[in-house]
């Protein structure tokens, strides 16, 4: 929507002092319509990187590579070159910092994609900007064994925010990719995981 405002301001002030960096305008329009350029992860890219990393796409505007900083009690901490953090547990995003809207899930330990774990669990989480402490009911269904796939159906108590999150895992039970709704004010987040050492 910021881009709509920019295009509007450009249109009303076209005739004035020409200081707009016009070379950037096609890029903005392309980003607004098509989205940011994809980052292709080739074998060479994987080879060149020192640490495991994730490719994160939030909506169509934000694509970034985040590198693994640490693993602590099953929580993977990923960091971008500009300082944003995404924490994952079994592929589920349980905490973010530096995004326009952040989350912190407090009760995530019972999340896993196992046939035996199908059923209902609850999460307590803090939403940021605006701040709200909420609880969610999640229904996890085990979809297939190879590759292992799960669907997490989430309903929020108190207001209308529901989502279906998808997870795919490799043979070592490490997440391969996931699609999640992590904050009601953020677009869908897609994550691809690339591991350097298993």
């Amino acid at each position: 929507m910021n881009k709509i405002l920019l295009v509007f301001i450009l249109s009303i002030s076209f005739s004035s002092c020409q200081t707009i960096p016009y070379a950037q305008i096609p890029i903005i329009i392309k980003t607004a319509v098509i989205g940011a350029d994809d980052i292709v992860i080739s074998d060479q890219v994987i080879e060149a990187r020192e640490f495991s990393f994730i490719k994160v796409k939030i909506g169509k505007d934000f694509i970034a590579i985040l590198s693994l900083v640490s693993i602590n009690d099953g929580v993977f901490n990923w960091i971008s070159s500009t300082g944003e953090h995404i924490f994952t547990f079994n592929g589920k995003v349980i905490k973010t910092t530096g995004l326009p809207h952040n989350i912190h899930v407090y009760s995530y330990k019972s999340f896993s994609c196992e046939l035996s774990n199908q059923g209902s669990i609850n999460y307590d989480l803090m939403l940021d900007n605006p701040k709200a402490f909420i609880s969610q009911a999640a229904e996890i269904s085990y979809n297939s064994p190879i590759p292992k796939k799960c669907t997490e159906k989430i309903v929020t108590n108190g207001f209308s925010w529901s989502s279906k999150n998808y997870y795919t895992y490799d043979a070592n039970d490490l997440p391969l990719n996931t699609t999640q709704s992590i904050h009601p004010k953020l677009p869908i987040i897609q994550i691809e995981f690339f591991y350097k050492y298993k």
Partner: protein, 723 residues
Amino acid sequence: MGRCWLTMFVVSSNLAFASIDDYIYSKSSSYSYSNYGTIGLIQMPSARLHEAGSLGFNWSHVDPYLRGSIVAYPFDWFEASYQYTDVNNALYSDIAAFSGDQSYKDKSFDAKLRIFREGEFMPAVAIGARDLAGTGVFSSEYLVASKKIGPVDLTLGLGWGTLSRDKLSNPLSRISDEFDIRTLDKDTRGGEFNVGYFFSGNTGVFGGAEILIPNMKGLRFKIEYDATDYDLEGFPDGSSSFNLAYEPVKRESSPINAGFVLPLSELFHLKLNYIKGNTLSFGFSIQGNLGKKQGFVKKFDKPPSVKNGSLVKRLNSEKDNNFIYKSMLKYLGDEDLYLQKATLSSETLDLAYTQAKHDSYIRSAGRVMHVLDEILPDEIKEISLSHINGGMGMHNMTFDRKSFSSNKQNNHFQLTAKSTELKGFQYDKEKQYAFSPKKIFPESHYKISPAVRSQIGGPDGFFFGDFRISANTETIFAEGLTFTTASSIGLYDNLDELSLNPDSILPHVRTDIVSYLKGARKFSINRAQLNSFSSPFSNVYTKISAGILEEMFGGIGGEILWRPFSKDYALGAELWRVKQRDYDMRVKFRDYQVTTGHINLYYREPKSSVVLAIKGGRFLAGDSGLNFDFSRIFRSGLRLGAFFSLTDISEAEFGEGSFDKGFYFHIPIHVFFTKHQRGLENFGLRPITRDGAAILNHGHHLWGVTEQAQYLTLTEDWDDIYE
């Protein structure tokens, strides 16, 4: 039943967990606009205002009116708007040959002031006026209160003028009999701020509610009791102004209006309303706060590390000073920071630089320090940076390197500010520096960009435009000696039917705009100005310019400005001998010539960043008087301003509009981009182009060129030092 439902709604909302409300009623942080283009209900105003630094545009269609408005909020408590209304039941003029089939176009200013902020129990209260300096066809005043209770924003108000449907007796009549009768002087040239009739005549009551619908993506329902007396507004049947109308306005069948606002985002709203019991209206609005420092887009432009910085530093420690100078020149240049002169001693560095990338001069100094701190030997303990612009010294900052470095990690910019000496700087070109990189003159820069010239809202048609490609160049012949040009080539226009002839009895210094538009359709030189800048004394700056100074005038003249570094004011003078340019806007001139000049006084109020500029002197048409300009500068660089002029010509001599006035805003383009960059997108508007109080629009005003030569301009940006 309705009242019961509303009560239930309010009670249940109060029981809700407050912070979850932000998600239940999403996109609720921005207020919505009324059909009159200011914040309000459907037709009625409310006591709500956006935060300071917000700008908005609203468009609505309410038969027979199409209305566009630009709304600005220079303060939290002040809303100012300019409306442009296409009145589709009246002709532009009562002279058929003049107006043709062109509908009436009404231009007007509205203003609203908040008197009380909303409290826990008390409502916000505002006072306002519509069409306060126009022809008065939508003229009204109001006192209004708004109180938010849960998801319901209630509004109740009293109206005068067109907001007096109930024709109640005026409560202000108890104060004075003058409030009894509203006598609107229609026999004016428009544009006068005639406050004599304000809050007089009959009174009306209005009220309503804006209700946020839960879990509906911010959808709002609005309902109101409309106080508009449609027999007074516009060109009503039976009034003297009806001679312009060719059909009456539809009478209302109900005073209750209702509608919906759908926010597609916090910034962009769509609206659909049913008003007067018989009319569907619709519109949209777009608004945003452009005044906040961080802008709309998060910046991804941190100061980058110097590649192999530690190696460069080690080499600099081992090699001679010449190697250090050259490494500074290279690595600063990589960041668009241009070293001009430098002298190294055992523990200090004295460096002069120039830059055109950062609008925050503290940030540019921080970037210089960031590079130097990475590559200079540790022995250098103190770094003195002097900023140069136009060959003139602007300011000097002396950093304690250790303090800069140690405070960087945790962004303790306050401590860095405390340890840094900031003072004015007079650049002595003759002073011997140990290193002075050879410059090859002339040095040229150019930029090619699209441009549009336009003429909006005249009797010949609503919009006439001229789409062009323009080229801007700057050639630097020597330090402080520049030649700037702006020229353009027309690609497409619809100016053929534009035929408005000026009726001004003053020299046509501006009203020949149509001749200039049509005469320069193929190619035009907008500016070709030679400038010589200097700073002969401390805090004194001069400029001498000659050539094509603006679109309509060329000549020679100069400007001098005394701007004491540590003060909030400046005093200047300018004098020009100019000749009017030919309509083809090339190199020929017309006969009219004039000597124009002003004494200029500037004052920047430190707390509010309000700048007052008063120019007194002789204007282009030979009239003499004062020009007042008020503007507020926000942290982002956004500038919202308004101006008016009073000169020794009569209202009759000035013509339509009565006196010169207008508004402008300068929008910093960096707010839309992820990288820091200088530049403003300027938008200004005068309701009517007239010849009185016209000021020469020469390029590179010293007040702007020397912006960074004032303590206040710099110190408010200290938090940018590590950005």
